[in-house]
Amino acid sequence: MVNLNVNIGGLNLKNPVMTASGTFGYGIEYSDFIDLNRLGAYIVKGTTLNPREGNPYPRMAETPSGMLNAVGLQNKGVDFFISHIYPVISAYDSELIVNVSGASIDDYVTVAEKLMPLERINAIEVNISCPNVKQGGMAFGTTTDGAAQVTKAMRQAWDKSLIVKLSPNVTSIVDIAKAVEAEGADSVSLINTLLGMAIDVERQRPCLSTVTGGLSGPAVRPVAVRMIWQVAHAVSIPVIGLGGIMDGRDAIEFMLAGARAVQLGTANFIDPAVTMKVIDYMTDYCERHGVKDINEIIGMI
């Protein structure tokens, strides 16, 4: 029997497979296709202090081997999450992680304080990397000072496991990772989407209402693998890898590069049952390679 159990900064996961924020709704949307209890963890979509309507349509454009999105953190706010969503999803036996976003540090902290009493939420993922909002989001994640400030404030507000989600839209993601590690982050997840743009040449207009948006899907995978490899060698906290993972092979690639867990995002749109296949693949892969514990392959490269 292969051990798939991994520990992410105090967070114990039955396997390394998580779902990326904003691609999996509240999980319930996928319950017809998969057993949510089998997931290592699932990350509910970006939650803010106040409800957000998000950006105007069109918010999506398919691009070569990927897609651009500009959803803009549409969500009903943290109070709605606590009163309406949490009671439903807390019945599942997977770790539940809330992705938290804010326009100001106070916003981030208030959301964390509201989530703190929820027994089943053992970790939050701090989103300092959303490219689709005017204030906050990526603004905090593209400087070492901004990333450090948010992390410091969240560390004081949140006693449980603290994941900071990093933006690839920076000169040195290693410097940002080191800055959040220094301020007490328990782990980092990377990469969020790459800032991109597409134009409808017939209509001579941008494809997205916001002009630019976040690129995801297999197109970004080699960039993600490179950044995970760099960060994993530079920090001592665990790295959670994401960015264009489409199947089990890709997930193993991220773990060899240094990821202790992986998140599947865009792949859920194409195959709603992909997470289950990735978990099965991990066991098969380890058996094929004579590996008894998946932790043995993490960061082999």
């Binding site: 904003g22 691609t23 999996f24 709704g25 949307e29 996928y30 017809d32 296709f33 979509k45 309507e53 998000g54 105007p56 349509y57 069109p58 918010r59 999506m60 454009a61 398919e62 070569p64 081997s65 990927g66 897609m67 999105n69 959803v71 549409q74 899907g217 297999p218 865009t266 859920n268 749109f269 194409i270 195959d271 709603p272 049952a273």
Partner: protein, 257 residues
């Protein structure tokens, strides 16, 4: 319950170079899930360089034969590949998705008017069949650019009283836009409409003006089809909602048109 199923192509009926009717059946011989008129499916189209599934409305369901029909118009890489596929090839589909037209409990004496534009008329075939089962013979008006874009008129005629409206001069019936067809001056209790957005907006305007209840089926671009990605939103009186789960069918009173 939604499913991910492989389907075998039983027939690919080419109408012309731009349109095909794919008749498909579950490859594992399982029974088709129950589907409502107006719902849609998400089709994976491998081998043509696209990443996401393509949403396609359910044109018809044959429960006895356990078959589903999808009317496909050649638009981009995915649909071009799809209409070129051959009998016995396999396609993977997520279904059934969306809400569908509201026809439960509809009175059989209601005068129902279906208005379709181009390939958008597809879901109205299954709708007219369902209405016929309830003892209602709807009037169906189908608009198209040219006579070659008028499809499946014989099939529609089985379940409804069909009129057509074609924009080009060689129109077999009425020449012009659907909104200019004389049938519109008759009285109806309910309109179900599916087609290009400008057409649906014009129909919605007429329905509002005359106080006729009206449902339209939207086709906003989407990624997941499951209400997770929040890409396909439409602005409604309740704020932005997902077309894939709260629609694709909306009562026009819910929209901000």
């Amino acid at each position: 319950m939604k499913k991910i199923l492989d389907f075998r192509i039983v027939e690919n009926r080419h109408f012309n170079e731009n349109y095909s009717l794919l008749v498909i059946t579950p490859a594992d011989y399982s029974t088709l899930p129950r589907m409502r008129p107006g719902q849609f499916v998400q089709v994976a189209i491998p081998g043509c360089g696209i990443t996401l599934r393509r949403p396609i409305s359910i044109c018809d369901v044959d429960v006895e034969e356990n078959r589903l029909s999808l009317l496909v118009r050649k638009a981009g890489k995915g649909t071009t590949h799809l209409i070129s596929m051959e009998k016995d090839e396999i396609i993977n589909i997520v279904l059934p998705l969306g809400n569908g037209f509201s026809i439960d409990g509809i009175d059989s004496d209601r005068r129902i008017f279906l208005i379709g534009g181009g390939v958008g008329a597809a879901p109205l075939l299954y709708l007219s069949k369902a209405l016929r089962k309830k003892g209602i013979t709807p009037t169906t008006l189908i608009g198209a650019r040219t006579p070659a874009d008028l499809l499946m008129i014989d099939e529609f005629s089985r379940y409804s009283d069909v009129r057509t409206s074609v924009e080009s001069q060689d129109a077999p019936d009425h020449c012009g836009l659907v909104t200019q067809h004389p049938i519109l001056s008759e009285s109806f209790d309910m309109i179900y409409c599916c087609g290009p957005a400008p057409m649906m907006k014009a129909v919605a305007g007429i329905a509002k003006e005359r106080g006729i209840e009206c449902e339209v089926s939207l086709e906003n671009m989407m990624a997941c089809g499951l209400g997770a990605c929040l890409c396909c939103v439409e602005k409604t009186v309740r704020g932005n909602v997902c077309v894939c789960t709260e629609g694709p069918v909306f009562n026009i009173n819910q929209l901000t048109w």
